[in-house]
């Protein structure tokens, strides 16, 4: 394979040096990490920021009057603003709630806004390509409130079918939609659908877990009402997620979990909730994780979404061409054909080899890929599959990783094809 196809937008060799795990090897084979859609790796700067916080600053936030407690609080709140600015939230210090992950962020909306606002005559509109995180909370809400759930269909390219879209909004109170499919990479027209939803009196929750790592996300422009993403996919640590919500909506919502931090006053008879965003952050929050997330966001924004997107599209083209050239009709690739319509991942399947076996043999080459249903079983049913193999790219991947993948896959087909 010619290396002239190698994208030159990013200095990947230099970037890789920032990620200690990428320097590791197994049986003399370097680590080829192609599973960033499940969780990205994190650069030294994130680890150092968290270490530094614990070494010099740690104390509980919003409580102590001593210096290190004030410093911890300042760092925590600074991270909130960084997370907000990343997605262009109009009021980052109020509209960003830290959660455990994107899943918890979506559950928060379901269990507060959803429980108060939805009843038997209401509909939640979603799609057939959602991650379970943006489906099961609504199915649970359906059990609790009797509301209905309807689904936007996808076509054979994995794109939403938007024919007669207006009629799909009958009775809809909430559109809960992914901004990028974790299986197909599809980027649905969320801005257009948000306009449509608002015109029909519905709110919009966007699951941006797979979008924020790859593309500039602008909640002011999209005008979505809620948006969720997770820290560990944007170079940050695990254990922290982000919920964005419009101020007036967050203000009106009941609290989520009860405990310290989320109250202004407590008596033996009752309690008065704190202001947003702390109203939704009961108990000691993930302080070091917020600091790490802030450092991860700094790293990502220093590289810039323009370069990230271009780099990933280069890898997408290179990878899909390599797969098709090498395996021809033996392989099926899923998702939109045009790389501009998708994020940096490819799901594929071989007719004769199960994804679990693909991943097993690739592991022998120290290549990490995801095999399975990707927490999107309804989509798998829709595609008539039980599983796919998925490779996903980040800033530290290059064409050498894809060349290694192809060599590994050739052995897979030799052994089991």
């Amino acid at each position: 394979m010619s290396s002239s196809a190698s994208p030159r937008i990013l200095n990947v060799d230099k970037i890789r040096k920032d990620f200690p795990i990428l320097e590791t090897s197994k049986n003399g084979k370097r680590l080829v990490y192609l599973d960033s859609a499940a969780s990205s790796q994190r650069p030294d700067s994130v680890l150092e920021a968290m270490d530094d916080y614990y070494h010099t600053t740690h104390a509980n936030v919003h409580r102590g009057v001593y210096s290190i407690a004030e410093n911890a609080t300042a760092l925590y709140e600074k991270a909130r603003v960084k997370a907000g600015k990343l997605i262009n939230a109009p009021k980052p210090s109020k509209e960003i709630v830290f959660t455990k992950n994107a899943t918890e962020a979506i559950n928060l909306v379901a269990k507060t806004w959803g429980l108060v606002n939805l009843g038997e005559s209401d509909v939640i509109l979603t799609t057939k390509m959602e991650h379970h995180a943006n489906l099961v909370p609504w199915l649970m809400l359906k059990e609790q409130t009797g509301c209905r759930i309807s689904y936007l269909e996808i076509d054979s390219n994995g794109e939403l079918i938007l024919d007669d879209i207006e009629s799909k909004f009958d009775g809809v109170k909430l559109l809960a939609i992914t901004m990028a499919s974790n299986v197909l990479g599809t980027i649905p027209p969320v801005k257009y659908l948000t306009e449509m939803a608002h015109k029909n009196g519905a709110l919009v929750l966007a699951d941006a877990a797979q979008f924020v790592p790859h593309r500039q996300c602008d909640v002011s422009d999209l005008d979505v009402d809620f948006l969720a993403f997770t820290g560990h996919k944007v170079m940050g640590p695990t254990g922290i997620g982000v919920l964005y919500g419009k101020e007036e909506l967050l203000d009106a919502m009941p609290p989520f979990l009860g405990g310290g931090e989320m109250i202004l006053d407590v008596t033996l008879e009752g309690f008065k909730t704190n202001e947003i965003p702390w109203k939704f952050e009961a108990g000691t929050p993930p302080i070091a994780e917020a600091v790490g997330l802030g450092a991860g966001i700094d790293y990502l924004t220093a590289i810039g979404y323009g370069a990230i997107g271009e780099h990933e599209r280069g890898l997408l083209d290179y990878c899909s061409n390599s797969l098709k050239t090498t395996f021809g009709e033996k392989i099926t690739l899923y998702g939109p054909k045009e790389t501009t319509k998708r994020t940096g991942l490819i799901s594929f399947s071989f007719e004769t080899v199960h994804p679990h076996d693909v991943a097993q043999i690739l592991d022998d080459h120290n290549i990490c890929v995801r095999a399975g249903h990707h927490c999107a079983k309804p989509l798998m049913y829709r595609l008539g599959l039980s599983a796919t193999t998925r490779v996903s790219f980040s800033i530290y991947n290059d064409t050498h990783d894809i060349d290694a993948l192809i060599i590994g896959l050739v052995q897979v087909v030799e052994m089991l094809g």
Binding site: Q360, I361, G372, H373, S386, A387, M415
Partner: protein, 162 residues
């Protein structure tokens, strides 16, 4: 190759490519039991019924449907081959032996063995082709693939009240 050949032995690949006792049984009277591996989406469907042997021990008839990886499907095929035509006590012994073969690593992973007896060493010479699945224990994640059809069989036996 770090054990890959040990995992993908010829017998396993043969059962994956040419599964034995594949098909369905009319249900009822047969029990139809589904088993899923939520981790990877493997699916095994076990059809089970018992024959009427008069005063003698009834024998089990099993058919396998479903789809999944080479380990889950070959294990199902190997299981069906061993179970078909065997009596209930014979099958119970087989399940116990197979679980012992697999539980070695489950215990190391911190899982609880089902009972003390399951830690008894197994005479793999007497297990025939089933012993080919021994290589799976080197790949702890795949043990669930190998045991899927066996756990589904156990559920089917419970349903059949045997």
């Amino acid at each position: 190759m770090s054990g890959l050949e040990d995992l993908y032995r010829e017998i396993i690949l043969d059962h994956y490519r040419n599964p034995r006792n594949r098909g369905t049984l009319e249900s009822p009277p047969a029990i139809r039991q589904e088993g899923f591996n939520p981790l990877c989406g493997d699916e095994v469907i076990v059809y089970l019924e018992k024959t009427d042997e008069g005063n003698n021990e009834p024998k089990l008839v099993v058919r396998i449907d479903g789809r999944g990886c080479s380990i889950s499907q070959s294990s199902a095929s190997l299981m069906a081959q061993s179970v078909n035509g065997s009596t209930v006590p014979e099958v119970r012994k087989l399940i116990k032996d197979f679980k012992s073969l697999m539980s070695i690593h489950e215990t190391n992973l911190g899982g609880e063995p089902e009972d003390e007896a399951s830690l008894d060493p197994v005479d793999t010479d007497k297990m025939g082709e089933l012993a080919a699945l021994q290589g799976v224990v080197k790949f702890p994640v795949r043990i669930k693939c190998a045991t899927l059809s066996w756990n589904t069989l156990l559920q089917a036996m419970e349903e059949l009240e045997i």
